[in-house]
């Protein structure tokens, strides 16, 4: 471990690693790096190296955790034992439990969990190399992996820290600034500027805090551009190479769809026939009733209409169900393509 540097900011106002106070570290993002995960991302932020995977929406195990109205989101932040100078004891410790909790809470509201009741969206982030700001790097990677998994979101979450060294505010702290600095405040932000993660330790005056928050938000905006670009580039490239495959896939898909439509049409006809028969039968009944008692005629014809509408309803439902199923099939196929 390095000793405490004498000065964090040189005479030119530059930091030890040559950055300006409001400059974030270089970010490198690779999308879709894992073959088995539904979405994945490898991210480097300075010397941090993290990898994130997203599985789901999938069945919830253990089952009692499932929610009937929405998907549950689980986030696991894990540090590799070799990621830090002194070997870290493997497994969750109190720090990683807390980081996992706040990170999950930073993402959960951005996911349309209500689209996937009774299912789970699992996010796993592995810290391969730690160099200050791992929770922000992990969140940035997780956010991209969620997008890669095709999970509908309200927006990408971007995270960045701000801190204080020698009474100067600096964004995206490096290791020395983190170890010997006076404050550290990681935040996560949505594209529209709302804060979804905010932690802080150290010492900030109210003024420093306000200024720091703005700086961190600006940092998040820079991170967001990297995330967006990485996703756009990845999918643009993918589109080029897989265009042919996708067209074939579409052609294959069209055929079964026609069959489905036909079967719906057949069913509709059948149901219409059934209805007609029923109506006839009912009419016959009412005719009989007319003979018996003419005053009841209106009531019986009313009930016939009701019956007719009732038989229509299940037909609609069937149609919807089949449409649902066909869309699910399509999305499954797409997922296979993306793998």
């Amino acid at each position: 471990m390095n000793d405490k540097p004498e000065k964090f900011i040189d005479n030119n106002g530059l930091r030890l690693d040559g950055r300006k106070a409001d400059q974030i570290r270089d970010i490198k993002i690779e999308v879709g790096v894992l073959s088995r995960a539904d979405g994945s991302c490898y991210l480097e932020m300075g010397n941090n190296k993290v990898i994130a995977a997203v599985y789901g929406p999938r069945e919830v195990h253990p089952r009692h955790q499932q929610k009937s109205t929405k998907a549950i989101v689980r986030y696991k932040y894990n540090m590799a034992s070799f990621s830090v100078e002194d070997r870290k004891r493997p497994g969750p410790d109190r720090r990683s439990i807390e980081v996992s909790k706040v990170s999950r809470e930073a993402l959960e509201d951005m996911i349309f969990t209500e689209y996937f009741p009774k299912s789970a969206i699992d996010i796993f982030v592995e810290i391969l190399q730690a160099d200050a700001g791992t929770r922000t790097a992990a969140l940035n990677a997780a956010s991209v992996a969620l997008a890669d998994a095709g999970i509908p979101m309200r927006g990408l979450v971007s995270a960045c820290a701000v801190g204080k060294v020698d009474e100067t505010l600096v964004v995206d702290l490096n290791k020395d600034e983190d170890n010997y600095g006076q404050a550290d405040m990681p935040i996560a932000m949505t594209p529209d500027g709302k804060i979804t993660l905010l932690q802080m330790d150290g010492n900030f005056t109210l003024e420093q805090f306000k200024q720091g928050l703005e700086m961190a938000q600006e940092g998040c905006r820079q991170v967001y551009e990297f995330q967006r670009k990485a996703l756009l580039d990845y999918y643009a490239k993918k589109e080029e190479t897989e265009e042919v495959a996708v067209i074939e896939e579409v052609l294959q898909e069209e055929a079964p769809e026609e069959v489905v439509e036909e079967s719906i049409a057949e069913e509709m006809e059948e149901i219409e026939e059934d209805e007609a028969e029923e109506v006839k039968a009912a009419e016959a009944e009412s005719d009989q009733e007319i003979e018996e008692d003419s005053s009841e005629t209106y009531e019986t014809s009313d009930t016939v209409e009701e019956e007719a509408t009732e038989t229509e309803e299940p037909e609609d439902e069937d149609e919807e169900k089949e449409e649902d199923e066909s869309t699910i099939d399509e999305s499954d196929d797409e997922r296979e393509v993306s793998q």
């Binding site: 471990m1 009937s68 109205t69 109190r94 720090r95 439990i97 807390e98 996992s100 909790k101 706040v102 809470e105 959960e108 509201d109 405040m185 949505t190 500027g193 709302k194 804060i195 979804t196 993660l197 905010l198 932690q199 802080m200 330790d201 150290g202 010492n203 900030f204 005056t205 109210l206 805090f209 306000k210 928050l213 703005e214 938000q217």
Partner: protein, 259 residues
């Protein structure tokens, strides 16, 4: 499941109350509940305090023992904070090792004590690199009536203020009071459908989207912060909470010094 349904109805109710500028228990938005602090409640502990914050009751105990320092700070004492949500405090708590909520609370209490520099750790060194005093802060929640965070932080610092280093018992000199330099105060606010209320009751906590805890030291500088729960806050909301929290903390600290 039932809890969720109730909380949606309750959220609606609380929100409608808030539009009228009211809270369920008649408090103002920035008004905290009554605080009662009793210290020295456990003779066996080196320091202890029982704190009531409205319905919420917690007990904090401090044990101090000699131990080996961490290699990266051989001349400094050690603080270890834990918090237990024991099952007698709420039907929702279960026994067993601390879960994420308890871990988070403990770590935020710890952050407040550590980052404000409340304990002068350099005075806890017995022999450099060999032996230092280890300060264990343990908070037990007895009645979970909302805003455990602030109650726990109050309990921790109250217990520390009355704690004595048991030098005589371990043959390391006389018993001396634990050197305390600062009084960090935690103030928590929740966002209920866009409105901010401070020191949330249990009902308000349940209806809230998320909460923000701000811990300030006696210079009104911020020592620690934690956003907890799903949901997001706008910059304006955060700045509002921080400003009010700093003001509130001063009021609470004054009360604190009287005791």
């Amino acid at each position: 499941m039932n809890q969720e349904i109730v909380s949606i109805i309750q959220k609606d109710y609380l929100y409608n109350l808030m539009l009228k500028g009211e809270r369920l228990d008649g408090r103002g938005f920035e008004e905290t509940r009554e605080i009662k602090i009793e210290t020295g409640v456990i003779d066996k502990a080196e320091g202890s305090a029982r704190v009531e914050l409205g319905d919420t009751k917690i007990i904090a105990g401090v044990k101090i023992q000699p131990g080996t320092p961490f290699p990266d700070s051989p001349d400094k004492g050690v603080i270890i904070t834990s918090l237990e949500l024991i099952p007698l405090a709420s039907p929702e708590f279960e026994s067993g090792p601390p879960r994420e909520n308890a871990v988070e609370l403990a770590r935020v209490v710890d952050r407040g004590v550590r980052e404000s520099g409340a304990i002068d750790l350099s005075k806890l060194c017995i022999r450099e690199g060999e032996k230092v005093w280890m300060v264990f802060i343990d908070v037990h929640v007895l009645d979970a009536g909302g805003n455990i965070m602030d109650a726990a932080a109050l309990g921790a610092i109250a217990a520390l203020l009355t704690a004595k280093i048991p030098g005589a018992r371990y043959g390391e000199g006389e018993d001396i009071p634990l050197p305390i330099r600062d009084i960090p105060i935690s103030v928590t606010a929740v966002d209920i459908a866009g409105g901010i209320v401070f020191d949330p009751s249990l009902e308000e906590e349940r209806a809230a989207n998320c909460k923000l805890t701000v811990i300030t030291n006696q210079e009104s500088a911020i020592s620690g912060m934690q956003k907890s729960g799903n949901g997001s806050l706008t910059t304006d909301q955060i700045n509002h909470i921080v400003e009010v929290a700093a003001k509130k903390a001063q009021e609470i600290r004054e009360k604190f010094l009287e005791i």
